[in-house]
Symmetry: C2
Subunit: 385 residues, 2 copies
Amino acid sequence: MTPAAAVDEAEFRARCRRAQALMAQEGLSALMLTTEADIAYLTGFRTRFWESPTRPWFLLLPHEGEPVAVVPEIGADLMGRTWVEDVRTWPAPHYTDDGVGLLGASLSDMVPAGGAIGLPSGQGTHLRMPLDDWAALRERLPDRRFGSDAGVMRRLRMVKSEAEIALIAAACATANRAFARLPEIAAAGVPLGDVFRRFQILCLEEGADRVAYLAGGAGRDGYTDVISPASNRALEAGEVLMLDTGLERGGYFCDFDRNISLGPASPSAAAAHSRLVEATRAGFERARPGATASELFHAMQAMLGSGTDGAKVGRYGHGLGLQLTEPPSLHPDDHTVLAPGMVLTLEPSVELGPGRMMVHEENIVIRDGPAEWLSTPAPDRLRTV
Amino acid sequence: MTPAAAVDEAEFRARCRRAQALMAQEGLSALMLTTEADIAYLTGFRTRFWESPTRPWFLLLPHEGEPVAVVPEIGADLMGRTWVEDVRTWPAPHYTDDGVGLLGASLSDMVPAGGAIGLPSGQGTHLRMPLDDWAALRERLPDRRFGSDAGVMRRLRMVKSEAEIALIAAACATANRAFARLPEIAAAGVPLGDVFRRFQILCLEEGADRVAYLAGGAGRDGYTDVISPASNRALEAGEVLMLDTGLERGGYFCDFDRNISLGPASPSAAAAHSRLVEATRAGFERARPGATASELFHAMQAMLGSGTDGAKVGRYGHGLGLQLTEPPSLHPDDHTVLAPGMVLTLEPSVELGPGRMMVHEENIVIRDGPAEWLSTPAPDRLRTV
């Protein structure tokens, strides 16, 4: 796949124009971006080389005009194949100036004295450059104001284009096919580590570019948590196995799970699954433009009964796209108003007892009118092998 | 696999004691860690949940005594299963105080007024928390000094224990077996995207926990770069295919590549491969305690001839371990003195023409006396299918 094949140059340009319109409202002279997802969003630059922490990468978007990429020489060729024309490079790693001089000069040209440079600074963001270099950059430009991007990137990225929705849908369809094949790999006696390994193979066979995320658990009446890596304990008859995957197609994630029972499920696990599926349906019904993330949380919560408030997991779903998890959170305090094009997970969870919980997750897109399933919704009856 | 099964509690404790000895030298009252690798290094906490950017995670190490984990509730169970006893949690995501209050109170108890809190701040590091929260934390503790960790974590992590070396060796052996099976998947007519997908399957079949990194390229006289994702262009007879993988076993990476020719190679590609292998051997011979990273660069450079100075790629190898790439860099300006236990890649590259290059990579560990190969070194003759 060529970098971000399904998103064309016109769309990248339109994203920059939308960013610039928001920047004007917020009084920002430039955006400074440092992370994989933010840079990919405006450029289409995709590489697994982000796995290496050695080199910083920068994209600058002025309040008008074209973006400027400031990147290590090793990335010049690949960045040169995106729509970005102004690609500035330095030989990295560098031991006295690892791009800070070039970045500072670029910002100095772009931003007038007193001008504001916005960086994503809120929940779920970070600055991907060394703190020493961050300090050195600000020292170089004492009369520019570095601060928050006022949520510009968050607001832009939260609403997906049709091209993005198609990529997420392709990832979801891939995971659907892999989950359909779970009976091939899940059986009593198989170590959970082998199940994890084989499930990643299924995802790749079904077309995943990579399996960025896989978590899961197993137990008789649910599992202890939803973020553990696989143990080598063998699965046992009567246990519920949960696998939660964030695989990637064309740079975009899906993020949903499936529960499956190894032989007849315990009554409490079967009942919990049924309640969880009902809760996702309730969330789906509530998921219309104008509803808030908080309202979706409460719509699901109402189906789960008392004593379960999502406190342990912290929320009942979230956005997704270029990242496994994105804003908003389906959380009582998140009052983000849903809009057409937002892609969400619905992810209610219940506790079955001390240290025992179950979680169910689906992916949807907000449309004018009713939402649309991106994952094929699971039946309320817990699947059994 | 249980979290970091091969590293026992005694080793984690010893790492903390070594960190504290260095902290005493540097006058640090506490270390504040926020990234996956740094936190895993001192705790054994492993989860693919780091893929989600929503939640920050913190580990504090006081200048004496035990570490304190400050983590979202969703991670309490998993962190509770590590050797760390003091695990403090908050319900995340949180919309008014996403852990900053708890983190600040913990630091306030741990660090006296005027005391220094060290954070990894040099090349290859970043702070994994939102800038807004970083500012709020410093405002809460105006009389503590936040600054660099003076390279404490870098120095510690650069020298691997036998347990770590065994995990990296297991990752290398897994990749060796996958590369041996390259003829099963590489042939003229196969799209590069399919080769990438199938190679990840081979890695998983051979025992990888996950295939975190895969890059590669193909072309008649080399490839354009070494960081691109796969295109869907079909491979052609006479091309050289390069795959470079960083797969993971028990939380530790390998990082090496293999070149293979689809039918008889062009004379220039065959000669380049031979020179690259000679260069890795020259680097291997030079790789003894007391030699510097820079000297290894020059030992390899001497075999590659003029007109090739590694400028595009930037270095001829690097450390590896919990991350795909770690310090030091085999670079003319990196004068890190090699010590037993350091694990390195040797990664010379040559240009064959405008936009055409080849790279070869092996993994080694520095020992008293000669180094030891962790990857099975490739023969100088370019392999052909």
